[in-house]
């Protein structure tokens, strides 16, 4: 018995909005980065599922997912580099310390 498509889409939507929630509420830069990864991976699930269930004859969604994974890795690398730089400067990665510029 095949699992209907809607199950996958529900999972990916929950993942996406869990990511949005984490992005807004978390105070630690690494936790924010993890939330962003959740959002990006939810997109990957979406692409693969749409391709597999709605358009089984083609590969466009799979390829997009591959590229999206690679680019997400590059983005994470840069974000972590910046977080490490912040840690070296202030020995802390709490967002509360990044409030010098406001309004």
């Amino acid at each position: 018995m095949e699992i209907p498509m809607i199950y996958y889409v529900v999972v990916s939507t929950i993942m996406f909005f869990a990511g949005v929630y984490g992005f807004v509420t978390r105070k630690n830069l690494l936790a924010i980065l993890i939330s962003l990864e959740l959002m990006l991976n939810a997109v990957d699930i979406n692409f693969v599922v749409f391709n597999r269930y709605l358009f089984p004859g083609q590969l466009e969604g799979f390829f997009f997912t591959l590229f999206a994974v690679a680019i997400a890795a590059a983005e994470t690398a840069i974000a972590i580099a910046i977080i490490i730089n912040i840690y070296r400067n202030i020995k802390n990665i709490k967002v509360d310390n990044l409030d010098k510029m406001k309004y």
Binding site: F16, G19, F23, L29, I32, L33, L36, M39, L40, A42, V43, N46, F47, F50, N51, L54, F55, Q58, E60, G61, F63, F64, F67, A68, I71, A74, E75, I78, A79, A81, I82, I83, N85, I86, N89, I90, L98, K100, M101, K102, Y103
Partner: protein
């Protein structure tokens, strides 16, 4: 395999060649020979711009993945001119002790983002578009963090990188819904599928959610209002040359890419996105202007000014006609010259004294009359006062929107130009009328800054009067 496809990508390939030459030069050149690095970089980019002036023909490569046309070529030339001015402006800054060790990185990363913007505006498929967008925004995050021991710089970098990631994931979510609704990612095929009445994709909620998420993702890149909160912090924290680059080149490229996609791909559902854009433009212009009034820091001030300018740029998109495209390209060209003149002066003053507040400019006219007059001309152009280029660009973009019947929108935008005149004049007032005993002393700017500011001021004065520029762009523009 047929390699002749690559010939269509002459702009990208020539820019890549410039990047590679600079990379090898920076890696293998001796310390002594690398003193000329900045000059060589500017000359190479100028040569590449000259090469791009050879007229391009319309064509597509790699099965429709990559598109090129004379209009796209013109936009690339405009972006190149802007980047060249930013690089010239940055020369005195990259000589300072903190940055000189990262000089090569600055030039190579800047050109790499330009390469990404090329891909973004001439893509024919959302995959290439996304790769171009990321190639443009990832090196920019590194550039914002380039002064890595300054609190402002790394704070701005952290804010920028997280907002860039967040907006890319919104945009990707939108693309996945569009893919789910239509089943292809080629612009041309999507337009065909949506336009096909028998398939009724045009009414599908999946497509609309996709378009809205896509607009939100692009809204972060262009900094339209509900998505603008990162702009002021990043502009204030980043080094001034990078701020200048962010505010003109990256914004102009993203706005043009958005316009091409909306025209080429979503023309059959124009009524939907025009509805969304209408609201976005109104709040963008208004909020940008109102927040600019209360700023004390000149870089934050320019950030809010650039937010409201983004709203004006979008007037060309909402028009959806060939006139809209012409006036958008023209607006971006004029905006490049006026904004880079302002940022050129800000960076001259900042490099010499470290001051960036509006109050610090009190009495600047007494000590530095030429800088003050240049700043005044640029601010008048941004506000749109008649003899300067800014007036003509605003006129054309209002004309394009009014031509399609957006009278109320144009009226609100016109009211907002009055507000914008008020806050631009605050700076002029500080320079000319207010007196200060400890005003900034007379500065002696170096050759590079002088060249940059002179070119920008000439551009501000002349572009509006040379109608041939508008006509040349108009000859190649296309509408929905």
């Amino acid at each position: 395999m047929d390699f002749s496809n690559f010939l269509w990508m002459r702009d990208e390939l020539s820019l890549l060649a410039v990047i590679l030459i600079l990379f090898l030069y920076d890696t293998f050149g001796s310390d002594k020979s690398r003193r000329a690095f900045s000059t060589v970089a500017c000359i190479l980019l100028a040569a590449q711009t000259a090469f791009m002036l050879i007229p391009a023909t319309a064509g597509e490569a790699f099965g429709g993945m990559y598109h090129t046309s004379p209009a796209i070529n013109i936009v690339k030339i405009v972006l190149n001119i802007g980047t060249l001015l930013v690089l010239i402006q940055a020369i005195p800054w990259v000589k300072t002790a903190d940055v000189v060790i990262r000089r090569g990185e600055f030039f190579i990363l800047t050109l790499m983002t330009l390469f990404g913007m090329y891909l973004m505006i001439s893509s024919g498929n959302f995959l290439l578009f996304f790769i171009g967008l990321e190639t443009a925004s990832l090196p920019l995050t590194a550039l914002v963090a380039i002064e890595k021991y300054k609190q402002n710089s790394y704070e701005a970098a952290a804010k920028y990188v997280f907002v860039a990631l967040f907006s890319s994931s919104l945009l990707l979510m939108g693309l996945s819904f569009i893919y789910g609704a239509v089943g292809t990612l080629y612009y041309h095929d999507i337009a065909l599928a949506i336009g096909n009445v028998t398939k009724s994709i045009a009414g599908s909620p999946l497509l609309y959610v996709g378009i809205v998420l896509f607009l939100a993702g692009m809204g972060f890149k262009i900094s339209i209002v509900p998505f603008h909160l990162w702009t002021a912090d990043v502009y204030q924290g980043a080094p001034t040359s990078i701020t200048a680059y962010l505010s003109v080149i990256s914004k102009g490229a993203a706005a043009f890419a958005l316009m091409v996609i909306l025209f080429k791909t979503f023309a059959p559902v124009a009524i939907v996105w025009q509805y969304v854009l209408w609201g976005l433009i109104v709040i963008t212009i208004t909020v940008g202007n109102l927040f600019a009034v209360r700023q004390k820091n000149l870089k934050r001030f320019m950030a809010f000014s650039s937010i409201s300018q983004a709203g004006y740029i979008l007037l060309g998109v909402i028009a959806g006609s060939a006139t809209g495209m012409t006036s958008l390209i023209y607006y971006v060209l004029v905006y490049i010259f006026s904004n880079l003149a302002v940022f050129g002066i800000i960076s001259v003053v900042e490099n010499a004294t470290g001051k960036v507040n509006i109050d610090d400019y009190n009495g600047l006219y007494r000590t530095n009359p030429r800088l003050s007059v240049a700043m005044m001309l640029a601010l008048f152009s941004l506000a749109g006062i008649p003899p300067f280029a800014g007036f003509f660009s605003k006129f054309f973009i209002f004309f394009a929107a009014a031509e399609q019947g957006f009278y109320v929108l144009v009226f609100i935008a016109l009211l907002n130009t009055v507000i914008s005149l008020y806050y631009y004049l605050l700076v002029v007032k500080a320079m000319f009328i207010k007196q200060d005993d400890c005003a900034i002393p007379a500065l002696k700017s170096d050759t590079a800054s002088r060249i940059n500011i002179t070119i920008c001021v000439i551009g501000v004065l002349v572009i509006g009067l040379l109608s041939c520029i508008y006509t040349a762009i108009d000859a190649h523009a296309f509408g929905m």
